[in-house]
Symmetry: C2
Subunit: 392 residues, 2 copies
């Protein structure tokens, strides 16, 4: 597969279950134009929720609890079935026969990610592990599946994340306006696209927690009845605990120079317990308000520290589940008065669908033999073709 | 990649670490002729031994001890580095520059295999898990890597094993003589190729333990100083414990109709302990002799029960580490007086290299868009293209 530049429109499904681990986002998109300059139209989007027992299993394993190789292997194939069903569902709703799919791009479900090397048997090793077996998805759908996007970047010395920045560049670049594309999932990350940028001008990184701490607190204080703070209304009843916020902001991750990436390893349950739940006498709404302040504060700090001093930015385009948290978005607007803060829907990319769309675009790149990482963003030595192709 | 039929010779490396988990077998082969009718010449073969700590980690995880997702993820990338080094080494010794490799086919290291469905969250799921990250191998070698050969067959309803039978068919079929190709690795399996067979006439299955029990006993009684019984000499000093042999032969696996596959789950450490090590007052050499009798007996029983009644067979071609066990091979000859028992070296396939060669041939199939499983052998609903392709 050399770098052919197909201009014909093709239908591609993008699949991801993010760090929130709620379920599978499936986006059906029509990609037209050459793979080097794709145009994207969203034809369908659905979220396929995990059942409570499945979600518990994933959370337990991703939290670092010991499991047998068999449990992880069975989970991989089980999630393959669920990712296939999510594909079937989004195509059925959009009345698109499976036979018309040119490809499926699946991020899978991350259960481990270690972007910084640790020593293993005398070698420095980074690694990442996503599950949801692509061979199962290919067999159930009859379409070629591109999966496992992160390992190739890590093998080339990168952190394997974030990968969406190239897609942000392809879909959101502007000749005259500097743009920051911000995604607030479990983790928050942004992509900086200077006005009239070339790919090598683009950079981005994880800024820290997005909804992960908020959601963890909501689950705890609602005794598992709620999974997120709708609209940020619970947090809005509380007040920021300034000493706690200051303490968390001193965490080394926030000071570190980019590129950097984060996950449940950094800001998962252990983090929530250590900083928030062990705080004696604090009210739930105040802890929530503090967690909801942490996200826009760390995003703003990262922009101030690593971006705005040197690059002219006009707009901040927000996507991800956090875009529904009005308190969070309004705090972002207040903390960044000089930027135009808008939701990605305004650019044809609904906030909930944007990440899944990105993996459809990345799959299209791989199917055309084009690289999918930005070395400046991930720290890789070179741009590489991402993913592995499974043929039905 | 449609079914092009390249006739030009191509260099392919096959990599496997089998159920013995001693190290990585790397075969460098020259494949000529169309991918549908390959001719194979072995240019180099090496075994890259695992260090003791690495081997212990693999054994521990494959034995079903609990580990974190992180440990398995790190092991995956660590083994990717080792599989890449095995490739570099076999190419260096053969003085073949990496740039000349058309592809690498890697089986990886199995840490779990469950070919019979179990219920997971209300669904029947089979699964398999091989580690040794192909993206790492692709990056270090610059060659396309085909990996993860088993999942596609399992997604199509197969047991994911054995996969070598198609290669046996391609390389060992004969117009006039019925052939059984027997591989004695940790597990023993054979392929039945009737005279003048078509692919759908071929079948095969795992017969049970090959060297797995013998090796387990040697490790135990030598206190880890030895890993196998060289030439079968230790066992030759003992006598078969007939009641123990009879007891083991009653295990349900041996009675089951093919297709069937086995692994460390069935005949690993737990099996060795339950049947052999807990036997009071038995001498080491008698237990070893009994284990060394079990392998040819179960192979012969399987031939008698499922093959020789209906198919005319002239020769039994033996490969795998067990081919070095003279006691075992001579017992096979004695138990099968009507067959010509010979080592695969006689067919240009050195006994230690044959499985690694097979994965080079299977990778060549996948690179040409050709299926790699035999549905009658694995139980799959259809022949499917195996593996996932990682591009450097």
């Amino acid at each position: 597969m050399p770098e052919e530049h197909s201009r014909g429109a093709r239908l591609v499904v993008g699949l991801i279950s993010g760090t929130s681990m709620d379920g599978i986002d499936a986006a059906l998109v029509r990609i037209s134009g050459p793979a080097t300059q794709p145009r994207v139209r969203l034809l369908g989007f659905e979220t396929y929720r995990y059942s409570a027992p499945v979600r518990r299993r994933i959370l337990r394993i991703a939290a670092g609890e010991a499991a047998t190789a068999g449990e992880i292997s069975q989970l991989n194939f089980l999630l393959g079935e669920l990712f296939a069903e999510a594909t079937l569902r989004v195509c059925r709703t959009a009345r698109v026969p499976l036979g018309r799919l040119a490809a499926i791009g699946t991020h899978g479900q991350t259960i481990y990610h270690q972007g910084s090397p640790t020593r293993e048997a005398g070698r420095l090793v980074t690694s990442t592990l996503q599950v949801a077996e692509p061979a199962v998805i290919a067999e159930r759908t009859g379409a070629p599946v591109v999966a496992d996007f992160r390992p190739a970047d890590m093998a080339a010395g990168g952190q394997g994340a974030p990968l969406v920045p190239l897609v942000d560049y392809l879909l959101l670049r502007d000749a005259r306006r500097g743009t920051v594309a911000l995604n607030i999932g479990g983790i928050a990350n942004f992509t900086v696209i200077p006005a009239n940028a070339r790919p090598e001008d683009v950079f981005g990184f994880d800024t820290g927690p997005g909804n992960m701490i908020i959601d963890g607190l909501v689950r705890h204080f609602s005794h598992g009845q709620k999974t997120y703070d709708a609209g940020g209304r619970w947090a809005a009843r509380g007040r920021v605990i300034e000493p706690l916020l200051a303490q968390v902001l001193r965490e080394p991750f926030f000071q570190r120079q980019p590129p950097k990436s984060a996950g449940r390893e950094e800001f998962g349950q252990r983090f929530v317990e250590h900083f928030f739940l062990k705080r004696r006498g604090a009210r739930a709404e105040d802890l929530l308000r503090t967690a909801t302040e942490l996200t826009p504060r760390t995003i703003t700090d990262a922009l101030d520290r690593f971006v705005l001093g040197s690059i002219s930015i006009h707009r901040l385009i927000v996507s991800g589940g956090g875009a529904h948290n009005r308190l969070l978005v309004s705090r972002l607007s207040q903390l960044l008065p000089r930027l135009r803060v808008q939701l990605s829907d305004a650019c044809g990319l609904p906030v909930d669908a944007k990440e899944a769309i990105a993996f459809a675009v990345l799959a299209d790149r791989t199917m055309h033999g084009l690289p999918g990482n930005l070395p400046r963003v991930t720290g890789a030595r070179r741009a590489v073709v991402l993913g592995k192709i499974s043929r039905p």
